[in-house]
């Protein structure tokens, strides 16, 4: 990833590294989720018809990133939903998120399935005026 894009990728031999940037940690996590799901479906082709909510407790901000991404990936797979838009709030160690998308359909252009977020190259850190969140996702 170069420049100041909100979402992007970095190299990993076998899989993909995803990056999210934002003014807050929560915004960076939202953009990391966009990067993750954009590997599977082109966001502009996914309709915002249904919403799912995810909630979790995590005091460790770094571990919260794979926890957030895995919660979304798990629900997306279990409910057969393609997701494209995300929102996330935090109160202390309590995280509440929402994601929007539509049921999988055969004519939805898809590419590589992302199965889980890992702790590899995991980092959540201040960058410039905001934050950057990154980890490798397993495809």
């Amino acid at each position: 990833m170069t420049g100041d894009e909100a979402s992007g990728y970095f190299d990993h031999d076998a899989d993909f590294g995803v990056i999210g940037r934002g003014a807050t940690v929560e915004a960076a996590f939202v953009n990391a989720a966009r990067a993750t799901f954009a590997l599977m479906w082109e966001p502009e082709t996914v309709a915002r018809k249904e919403a799912i909510d995810v909630e979790f407790e995590e005091a460790d901000v770094e571990l919260a990133l794979p926890t957030w991404l895995n919660a979304l990936l798990g629900e997306s797979a279990a409910r057969h939903l393609a997701l494209a838009d995300f929102a996330l709030e935090r109160e202390g160690s309590r995280w509440r998120g929402r994601a929007f998308g539509e049921p999988w359909r055969d004519d939805l252009p898809s590419s590589t399935g992302v199965k889980g977020a890992t702790l590899t190259a995991l980092a959540v850190r201040p960058v410039g005026d905001g934050f950057e969140a990154r980890c490798v996702v397993d495809v």
């Binding site: 990728y9 970095f10 190299d11 990993h12 031999d13 076998a14 899989d15 993909f16 599977m40 479906w41 460790d60 571990l63 794979p66 926890t67 895995n70 798990g74 629900e75 797979a77 279990a78 057969h80 393609a82 999988w104 939805l108 898809s110 590419s111 590589t112 399935g113 199965k115 889980g116 977020a117 890992t118 702790l119 590899t120 995991l122 490798v136 397993d138 495809v139």
Partner: protein, 477 residues
């Protein structure tokens, strides 16, 4: 990889010397100078971290196809003694628990089926569910899925998918013992209810291949192989269920490591003592994941047979072998000349029992276990046989694939999926895929030379080459 950091033990075996008071077990890397030089330095960092884990017996090792993984390098092998504080690591098994290859041998030759290849490719593409969000025709309830997780391929055969004769040629006769379905979370099960009998995406595939060359006539006879013969290889694993188990235990074990008195050199190596409630809980879930993968490949083998029966009536497809390459297995190995129970992690590495091993089916016992090194969709694959010396060198382990030479992101910059599929068709290789982007990520040029990996595997004494395969049809997710 900077070879200056390594000491050559022989042309195919390398060691990472310790510096100062560094406290860790030995690190041994197998492969040629050329293969090691092409590896990322992260491989060395990761296997060095594995060598620091508690209860490790002997060296932490990498196979000739190693590349940067998660915690463990892919191609990593490490054995732990449960009675010496040894651990089981979720990162050492990987996310796609029991990912592996089912290889079927047919009674047909390339000449027999050449004219029908396009229709066979279309039929397999239609009948084998593959790709993102592609569910199978099988829809299970949670109690039914629990039966799968307890029964593995034995459940699949009892449910009408395949033949009991298949089971003799599947590791553990198709069923991992000590699986505890109750240790698998409701979300993991929910992800799997509609995914049994599906291939998935990424590097998973179903390939129709032909035997281009036999290198070891005796082993080939035992394996039922001959030149020109058509084989089918199915590469996939435990799908969403395995991944969910992996991610959930990875996070919980990483958070609990300090409480268990484990100083993790990398959080991705999240682990627990084998003899601890946490370790036993993970092992129960992991064995359930293994059974999920074994059942999945059994169902896919059955679907493949149905497609062959339609397009090539009367054809016979027998299981050559089913090998997993993401596992932790309790095995007896010789340590200092005495048998000892060890928990052998093979992350992107294949078990490769040598001749005479009691776990092998009678038919293969004199020549050793079939080892399958899956290559890229444009080049080829290898079948090898386990060797006697692999026991002492690598706890009877060998390479599992060609190994990536470049990242997926780099591959996407270099290749276009449609152009690639057209080029391969020009070479007589039919690709059927739901994702042209996925095809570009899996471009043959993104992988190392499988012939060099197979050669290094043999020269390092891990397994010996038996037959080289060439692809004709590849179904990708």
């Amino acid at each position: 990889m900077d070879l200056a950091r390594l000491r050559s033990l022989d042309e195919w075996t390398w060691a990472l010397p310790r510096h100062g008071g560094e406290e860790r077990n030995d690190v041994v890397l197998y492969g040629s100078r050329e293969l090691l030089a092409s590896m990322d330095d992260k491989v060395l960092e990761q296997i060095g971290n594995v060598a620091r884990l508690p209860g490790l017996v002997g060296a932490a090792m990498t196979m000739p196809d190693a590349h940067w993984g998660y915690g463990f390098p892919i191609g990593g092998v490490a054995a732990f003694d449960p009675d010496a504080g040894g651990i089981v690591s979720a990162g050492g098994v990987g996310f796609d628990i029991s990912c592996g290859i089912r290889c079927l041998r047919t009674d047909r030759t390339l000449d027999d089926i050449a004219a029908r290849l396009p229709k066979l490719a279309d039929g397999l593409y239609r009948d084998i569910p593959a790709g993102v969000g592609e569910g199978g025709s099988l829809r299970l309830t949670v109690p039914e899925l629990d039966d799968v997780l307890a029964g593995g391929a034995q459940w699949a055969v009892a449910s009408g998918y395949g033949d009991a004769s298949d089971l003799e040629y599947v590791e553990e006769l198709g069923r991992a013992e000590n699986a505890v379905p109750a240790n698998v979370s409701p979300l993991a099960k929910k992800r799997q209810l509609g995914e049994m009998g599906t291939l998935g995406s990424g590097n998973h595939y179903l390939e129709v291949q032909w035997v281009e060359r036999i290198d070891d006539a005796e082993a080939a006879r035992a394996f039922g192989l001959f030149e020109g013969q058509i084989l089918v290889s199915i590469h996939c694993g435990s799908r969403g269920l395995g991944h969910q188990i992996g991610t959930e235990f990875l996070l919980s074990l990483a958070k609990g490591a300090s409480r268990l008195g484990i100083d993790l050199p990398d959080r991705e190596l999240a682990c627990a003592p084998i003899r601890s409630p946490e370790g036993e809980q993970y092992l129960g879930a992991m064995n359930a994941g293994i059974n999920c993968a074994l059942a999945n490949r059994q169902i896919l083998a059955h679907l493949t047979r149905s497609t062959f029966a339609h397009h090539l009536p009367g054809s016979r497809l027998e299981t050559l072998f089913d090998v997993s390459h993401n596992t932790c297995k309790a095995e007896r190995h010789l340590v200092g000349g005495k048998p000892r129970l060890l928990y052998v992690h093979r992350k992107g590495a294949t078990r490769a029992f040598g001749p005479g091993h009691p776990a092998l089916p009678e038919r293969y016992r004199e020549v050793g276990q079939p080892v399958i090194i899956g290559g890229s969709m444009g080049t080829g694959s290898w079948i090898l046989a386990g060797t006697p010396e692999s026991e002492a060198r690598a706890w009877s382990s060998a390479s599992h694939g060609a190994g990536r030479a470049m990242s997926r992101a780099q591959a996407l910059k270099r290749w276009q999926g449609k152009e690639l599929v057209r080029e391969l068709a020009g070479d007589g290789i039919l690709i059927r895929t739901r994702s042209m982007r996925g095809a570009a990520e899996e471009a043959p040029g993104a992988y190392k030379d499988v012939d060099r990996v197979a050669e290094a595997t043999e020269r390092a004494g891990l397994a010996r080459r038996v037959a080289r395969l060439r692809p004709k049809i590849c179904i990708k997710g």
